[in-house]
Symmetry: C2
Subunit: 339 residues, 2 copies
C-alpha cells in the first residue's frame, strides 16, 4: 500500500504520471487494451456485424468518497454500467477520468481503484482508457471520477423512456432510498442506530435475465439522483403517458423510512444506485417479474403501478389513505453530491 500523497507532478504527464499509472491504475485495472498506453484503445467488435452501439457518461462527485456499501470507484463503474443496461445494452468497455486533489493520500486512490476493479469484474466490463489530472489543494474536493461506457445493443431490443405505452405495467426491482440515506448517514456525523447500506450494484445481469424471457420491455430506467419520483416524471414526459403509482406498493425498508422521517425527506425522491423501474405490456408482467425475482438484484421486484392514457406527462400517486396527488419532479436540491 503506497504511503505518499498525490503531488501536482502526478498530473504533469511526465515521469510521475507514468509511475502512478503503472503502480496504481495498471496494477488493478490492467488489461491488454489499457496496457497499450496509446492515446486511444482500439478494439475489435465482439460480433461480426453488431447492429447498434450504446454510449453514455456520468461524473461522480459523491461526498464522502467512502460510504456504507460502496465508494466513489464502485459507484463510477456501477452507475455507468447501469446507464448502458437501461437501454438494453451489454456493457463492453468503460473509460475513467480521474481528477485528484494535491495532497490526497495515495492509499485512498489505491482503495478506490481496487474497488473499481472489483466492480468491473462483477459488471463484466474492462476499463479500456483512462486519464489523470491533479489540481492544487482546494481546487477540487479530494477526488472526482468521470466514467464513460460503450455497450452493444442486441438485435431486436428497443428500450427507451419514450417507448412506454398506456396500459404498461410499472415494475420496481426493489426497495427505494438506500443509496441516498447511506451517503447522508456519513455526513456531519449523522449516526443512525441501525445499519444502512447503499444499494450500489451493477444491473447488467438483471437486465440480461429480463431480456432472456424474449418478452418485450418498453422502458427501463434506474432512479438515481432525484429518486423514483423524478424518474417516473421523465418517462411520463418522454412517452407522453400518464403514470399512476400506488404508494403502499412502493417498497421502502424500515430503516430508510425511519431515517427519512428524521431528516424530513420523502423516500420517493432519494437516490438509488442499484434499482430499476421497468415498463412492460401487462401480458408479460408475470414472465418478467419471475425472471427478475430469480436474480439477486431483483428478488424484491414488485408491480407499483401503470402507465395510462389519462393525464399524459403527469405522475399521480394514490396515497396510503386513498387520496390521489400529483407526484412532481424533484425541485430544489434535496441531497447535493449524492453520486
Amino acid at each position: 500500500m503506497p504511503k505518499d500523497t498525490i503531488l501536482l507532478a502526478h498530473g504533469s504527464g511526465g515521469r510521475m504520471t507514468h509511475e502512478l499509472v503503472r503502480d496504481i491504475f495498471l496494477q488493478h485495472l490492467g488489461n491488454p487494451l489499457l496496457d497499450t498506453q496509446d492515446d486511444a484503445a482500439v478494439w475489435t467488435l465482439p460480433r461480426a456485424c453488431p447492429e447498434r452501439i450504446a454510449l453514455t457518461t456520468d461524473s461522480y462527485v459523491v461526498s464522502p468518497i467512502f460510504f456504507p456499501g460502496g465508494d466513489i470507484g464502485k459507484l463510477a463503474v456501477c452507475g455507468t454500467v447501469n446507464d448502458l443496461a437501461m437501454v438494453g445494452a451489454t456493457p463492453l468497455y468503460l473509460t475513467a477520468g480521474f481528477i485528484l486533489e494535491e495532497g490526497l493520500p495515495l492509499e485512498v486512490l489505491y482503495r478506490v481503484v481496487a474497488s473499481m476493479a472489483e466492480a468491473g469484474r462483477e459488471a463484466e466490463v474492462e476499463i479500456a482508457a483512462g486519464d489523470t489530472k491533479v489540481v492544487e489543494r482546494g481546487g477540487v474536493d479530494r477526488m472526482f471520477i468521470t466514467t464513460a461506457g460503450v455497450g452493444e445493443v442486441p438485435e431486436g431490443v428497443c428500450i427507451s423512456g419514450a417507448n412506454v405505452k398506456p396500459g404498461d405495467v410499472a415494475i420496481l426491482s426493489g426497495p427505494v432510498g438506500q443509496h441516498g440515506i447511506a451517503v447522508m448517514s456519513q455526513r456531519d456525523g449523522l449516526q443512525f442506530s441501525f445499519p444502512l447500506q447503499s444499494d450500489c450494484a451493477p444491473l447488467q445481469g438483471l437486465v440480461a435475465e429480463m431480456l432472456k424471457t424474449g418478452r418485450p420491455i418498453h422502458g427501463l430506467r434506474d432512479p438515481t439522483r432525484g429518486g423514483l419520483a423524478t424518474t417516473l416524471n421523465e418517462i411520463a414526459g418522454q412517452s407522453r403517458v400518464g403514470i399512476e403509482i400506488e404508494e403502499e406498493r412502493v417498497p421502502v425498508s424500515e430503516e430508510v423510512r425511519a431515517a427519512c422521517e428524521l431528516l424530513g425527506l420523502d423516500p420517493l425522491y432519494v437516490a438509488n444506485e442499484g434499482k430499476l423501474v421497468a415498463f412492460v405490456p401487462p401480458e408479460v408482467e408475470v414472465a418478467v417479474l419471475e425472471a427478475m425475482r430469480r436474480h439477486r438484484y431483483g428478488k424484491e421486484a414488485t408491480v407499483i403501478g401503470r402507465a395510462t392514457s389519462a393525464h399524459p406527462g403527469r405522475v399521480v400517486i394514490k396515497t396510503t389513505f386513498g387520496a390521489h396527488r400529483v407526484l412532481d419532479m424533484l425541485s430544489g436540491a434535496q441531497l447535493p453530491r449524492i453520486c
Copy 2:
C-alpha cells in the same frame, strides 16, 4: 444570454437540471442522439461491418477557463478528438461530463458550451451523451469537463506508439509550445508585449489527409502535457527504439522562445494542443510531408529526427552547438493545470 448563476439544485437531477439541459446543453449541442435524453445514446454503426472501434477519455481542468486561442470547452473537444486521431480513427461521437461550481455564472457555462459546439462542428463529431454535476462553492474550481470519444478505425490502419521501427523519420506538424505559453500568459497577470495564441485545434482532418496518401504511418502522437520531449520518450519506450532529434530542426516561434526564456522553461516540455508527431518509413517521408503541408494544421510540418536501433528507449537531442544530450521525460510539475 442567461444572467443567473449555477445553484446546487442544477445538479439535483430534478427540474432545474432538466431546465439547464434544455436551455444550455440542448440549445447548443442538440442532435437526434442527445435529444432522446435516455440513459445512454444508441447509434447504428456507420458502415455495415467496421473492423475496429477506438475509445478514449481525458479530463480537462485548465486554469483559467478562457485563454487566448481557446477555452476549456474547445480544449475538451479537440483534446479527445486528437486522441482518437492519433490511432488513425475517424471520430464519431463524444460524451461530456461537466462538474460545475455553485455560483458559476450561467453566462460562463453558456460560452463554454457554445465553444464546444463550434469545435464539434470543425471536428465533425457530435456529443451523444452528457452529464452535469454541481459541487458546493469551494469544492471545485469553477468547472471541469471530462470528454470521452468513440471513433472508427479504417481497415488496414494500424498506428501505435509501439509500432515505430528503427529508421523511421519523425515529422512534427508545426512549432511547439504555443498552448502552454498562451495559458501561462493568463496567470498571475503575466503579460507579454506580443500576442500569444494557443494552437488548440482538432487534428482529425490532418490525419485523414495523411492516411489518404495510402502510405504506412507507424506512430502518431500529440505532444500535450509534458511536451514533445515526454511524447518522444513515451514512443521510444513503447517501441523499444532510440530516437534522435536535432534541436535546430524543432520549430519554435520567436514569441514562445522569448516567453520560455523569461519563465525559465524549455519549449520541448511545454504543452501543445494542435500538433502531432508522426513516425513514418523514410521512403514515404516526402509523400506524407506534402500531404501534411497541404492541410491548414500541417503547413509548417518538418522532419525533426529519426528512430534508431541504438540506445532503445532513450531520446537523444543534438543541440544547436553540436553536442548530444539525453532528452528525458518531464520530471516534476512544470505547468500545472495546463489542460
